[in-house]
């Protein structure tokens, strides 16, 4: 396990360097000058030059890159052009809402998708199985913003049960207030991810149910519940955990549409705003952060395989 972790960490350094080079170059080569945006419509070329000098964008690209990389290695992700504070502070401020949304979504998804998938596998070929399959096709076919608007209309506008947008950070009000703002967006995302995870669960558990050890477990007189969850599901965990892990990565880095529809000030919205404004330090910082999340999640998933399947050794 230790060797796995060490090997992964070494590989991570290479990944980060590649990501750093790529994101830096792509930003500088893409059209759009942040200095022009900052001075506004009536800015003169002198104004633009002044701002570029202030932001140190007039220095040669290799110099800009090396200075930035050197700072990153010391834990300094730079200073946002627009947020008037360090990028690390901006990320800290925005990661909370995204993380909260991701965790609530994950919890709901796992609680709904896995039992649904197991049930569908257990009643393979019946109306229950077909319903789960049909709903899962619907779930990942419908764009999340359509689902979001539908839920907002039904639950928020018509019934007036929940807020339609916004977010209350933990600590500013009661936890229930924060949860109220997260329910609709979490349900929106849950529908999409449940569709995916339920299908994968159904497929792997269906296969597991045909194995000899399941027949043995049944013939020993174990309850069907125990056979399904203690034996079939447990032995199907590896692919399910993989898909769930990919989902975590996507939730942290890719909920842009949901955050926009529900106006949740998380990392997704931050990324879109930063790209539109060409806030280079934030885009670079966010990209490195997302890379770190994916690397960490992959590492944890690989470690978890050992827990779920003792046959796996590194």
């Amino acid at each position: 396990m230790l060797m796995l972790t060490l090997r992964r960490l070494l590989g991570t350094a290479t990944v980060f360097l590649l990501v750093a080079v790529l994101v830096f170059l792509m930003l500088r080569l893409a059209p759009g000058d942040p200095a022009v945006l900052l001075v506004g419509d009536h800015g003169t070329p002198e104004d633009v030059a002044q701002v570029r000098a202030y932001l140190k964008l007039d220095e040669p690209l290799p110099t800009q890159f090396l200075v930035w990389l050197g700072n990153v290695l010391q834990g300094d992700l730079g200073r946002s052009f627009y947020h008037h504070q360090p990028v690390s502070q901006v990320l800290l401020d925005r990661v909370g809402p995204t993380f909260a949304l991701a965790m609530v979504t994950l919890l709901l998804t796992v609680c709904v998708a896995i039992p649904l998938g197991v049930l569908a596998a257990w009643r393979h070929g019946t109306w229950l199985d077909r319903s789960v399959l049909g709903l899962s096709v619907l779930g990942f076919s419908l764009p999340s913003f359509v689902l979001g608007y539908l839920l907002i209309w039904l639950v928020g506008l018509k019934a007036g049960l929940l807020p339609t947008q916004g977010y209350e950070r933990l600590g500013t009000g009661s936890p229930w207030t924060t949860l109220r703002y997260l329910i609709l967006p979490a349900v929106t995302l849950t529908i999409v991810y449940t569709a995916l995870i339920a299908r994968v669960t159904r497929a792997t558990v269906s296969e597991a149910l045909t194995e000899d050890y399941v027949r043995t477990a049944r013939s020993k007189g174990l309850t069907e519940l125990r056979v399904l969850f203690r034996h079939a599901l447990a032995n199907s965990a590896v692919p399910i955990v993989t898909v769930v892990a990919i989902g975590i990565g996507m939730l942290i880095s890719g909920v842009v549409v949901t955050e926009t529809v529900y106006a949740i000030p998380g990392l997704g919205l931050l990324t879109v705003d930063a790209v539109q404004a060409r806030d280079y330090p934030v885009i670079q910082g966010v990209t490195l952060f997302f890379s770190a999340v994916y690397v960490l999640v992959n590492l944890l998933v690989d470690i978890s395989y050992v827990l779920f399947d003792p046959r796996i050794r590194y």
Binding site: P31, D33, L37, G40, H42, Q50, G166, A263, P265, Q276
Partner: protein, 531 residues
């Protein structure tokens, strides 16, 4: 159904009802917080550092100015108790009102005014015009400032009372004297609100609280003039980007005012009895189509003139706004209804395209079908659609149009490129300005024909510039009207740009909650009452 299952269903139902009760809205204490969704996110806090409109709105919240323009366009004293001008119009004396305090509790003095105007005069174009004639600007005493001119510049009040960016905000001397190439490190103003820097979250929220020490004038508020009486405790600018999310927030009462609803939402908003659509900016928003005067083919005046004839205001405005309730053709460079506005444009601008005339002129110009690159910013809702109509009309007249869509950041950067279109430059773009920015040929940024130092497109015309200088020296309203018309006629003939017309974007307001909105040059939040 088995007993176990029945019990399970009943338990779930009970839990569900309890959950709904728990999650339903609770009544909060009514505090006077006005929540507004502005048209853009506030990113640049120093209003001297940028001409971005939202930064100007922010400036007027926390800073004050010597003069303010009222709703009728007249410049009125704001921070001043009095002012006078010598008979030769060379010496102006300004006396500050009593009780003016900055938010750091220091009094506003003449020295602060001098330093602020000096800083502003270096940054702002109209200010640079004025300071071209200033021989001395001094603080005579703590409340009095004297400005001595070398010539009787005719637009002193219009310049010091201009509403548009960069506005002549008054800040403490220690901040005004700071380096020009860096933003001011603090935001210390003497305006009706205080900026809550600790609650400011870019992309999320901007918060202002009432400045309890602000002493408003006694006159009723009008535009940016008069008594800026704040009737709420707090104003929050809530940043919501998605138009549907904005409407939902307004409908549920999460916000009180939506400054700039998308044109597609107007029908739904109008149909909602709880929402009022109120237009406070009577001079509207003026769209202009600008040519690149330094690269082919629009460096040829005949080709520009042909394009002017090829275009018609009505199709572009209807494409952009949809309903005629929200646009108006205006055949003048100056917004219709303002003092200098005149339909006398030499026949170059009309509501409908003059396609046959355009074709004939284009043919006579020798235009050989070179592609015309027309830039379209797709993420600026106020301007995204009009280029489509412009492209079509130009094509109908025989232009080979290459419509290129891009985001605002790419658009803003691309139009600074002075190369030919094939090397990353451009030929035509549309832009939009608040009507209040375009009241005279000096404040109108696109009427400048100063070449390299002018607006994107870099038009050069000595005659236009001579007329603009003559306008600056005009001393009476009649002279200004006459010269203003001459400038317009010359600029139209030179095809400096094409005025597309006026659009009106009403604010969407919760009628039961909000009253007292003030008409003027921009949305302001003093005077507003929240129930």
């Amino acid at each position: 159904m088995s007993l176990v299952l029945k019990r399970a269903v009943l338990s779930l139902a009970t839990l569900g009802v309890a959950g709904c009760l728990l999650l339903s809205n609770t009544v909060h204490a009514q505090d006077k917080v006005l929540r507004v969704v502005p048209h853009a996110d506030l990113r640049v806090l120093d209003p001297f550092a940028t001409s971005i409109y939202i930064s100007r709105y922010h400036g007027y919240m926390i800073f004050d100015t010597l003069f303010g323009m009222d709703a009728s366009g007249k410049v009125q004293p704001q921070m001043l108790q009095s002012y006078n001008v010598s008979s030769d119009r060379l010496t102006w004396t300004f006396v500050l009102r009593d009780g003016l305090l900055f938010s750091d509790n220091t009094p506003v003095t003449g020295a602060d005014v001098v330093a602020s105007l000096n800083r502003w005069g270096k940054k702002d174009l109209m200010g640079q015009n004025l300071f071209g004639y200033v021989s001395k600007l001094e603080a005579v005493d703590a409340k009095t400032v004297r400005m001595t001119l070398t010539a009787p510049f005719g637009l002193v009040l219009e310049t010091l009372g201009k509403p548009n960016s960069i506005a002549p905000f008054i800040v403490p001397k220690r901040l005004a004297d700071g380096p020009l190439d860096k933003p001011m490190p603090e935001l210390i103003g003497s305006g009706p609100f205080l900026f809550k820097a600790d609650e400011y979250k870019p992309g999320e929220k901007v918060v202002y609280v009432k400045n309890a020490k602000y002493v408003p004038r006694k006159e009723p508020a009008s535009g940016l003039a008069g008594g800026k009486v704040v009737n709420v405790d707090r104003v929050e600018w809530v940043i919501l980007k998605d138009p549907q999310t904005q409407i939902n927030a307004l409908t549920t009462g999460a916000i009180d005012i939506l400054e700039s609803p998308a044109s597609e939402q107007m029908v739904a908003l109008k149909a909602n009895p709880e929402i009022g659509l109120i237009n406070v900016i009577k001079t509207g928003w003026s769209i202009s189509l600008r040519f690149n005067h330094i690269t082919p083919p629009f460096n040829d005046i005949k080709v520009r003139q042909a394009a002017m004839l090829a275009l018609g205001q009505e199709p572009m405005l209807r494409t952009q706004m949809g309903s005629p309730d929200y646009y108006k053709t205006c055949l003048s460079y100056y917004p219709c209804g303002t003092p200098l506005s005149t339909p006398n444009n030499g026949g170059w601008v009309s509501a409908r395209p003059q396609t046959e005339k355009a074709r004939a002129l284009l043919k006579s110009s020798g235009y050989k079908g070179e592609p015309i690159v027309l830039l379209q910013p797709t993420d600026l809702a106020m301007l995204a659609k009009a280029p489509l109509s412009a492209a079509q009309m130009l094509k109908q007249a025989g232009f080979n149009v290459d419509l290129q869509s891009m985001d605002w950041a790419t658009f803003a950067t691309r139009r600074t490129n002075r190369e030919v279109a094939s090397k990353g430059g451009w030929n035509v773009f549309l832009t939009i300005h608040a009507g209040s920015d375009l009241l005279n040929p000096l404040s109108h940024p696109i009427m400048a024909a100063t070449g390299d130092r002018g607006y994107y497109g870099w038009a050069t015309d000595g005659r236009t510039e001579a007329l603009r200088t003559a306008f600056a020296m005009a001393q009476t309203d009649e002279d200004r009207k006459r010269v203003g018309e001459q400038v317009q006629l010359r600029a139209m003939e030179e095809a400096l740009f094409y005025p597309v017309g006026l659009t009106f974007i009403p604010m969407a307001v919760r009628k039961a909650a909000v009253s007292g909105l003030i008409e003027g040059q921009m949305p302001v939040f003093w005077g507003v009452r929240k129930q």
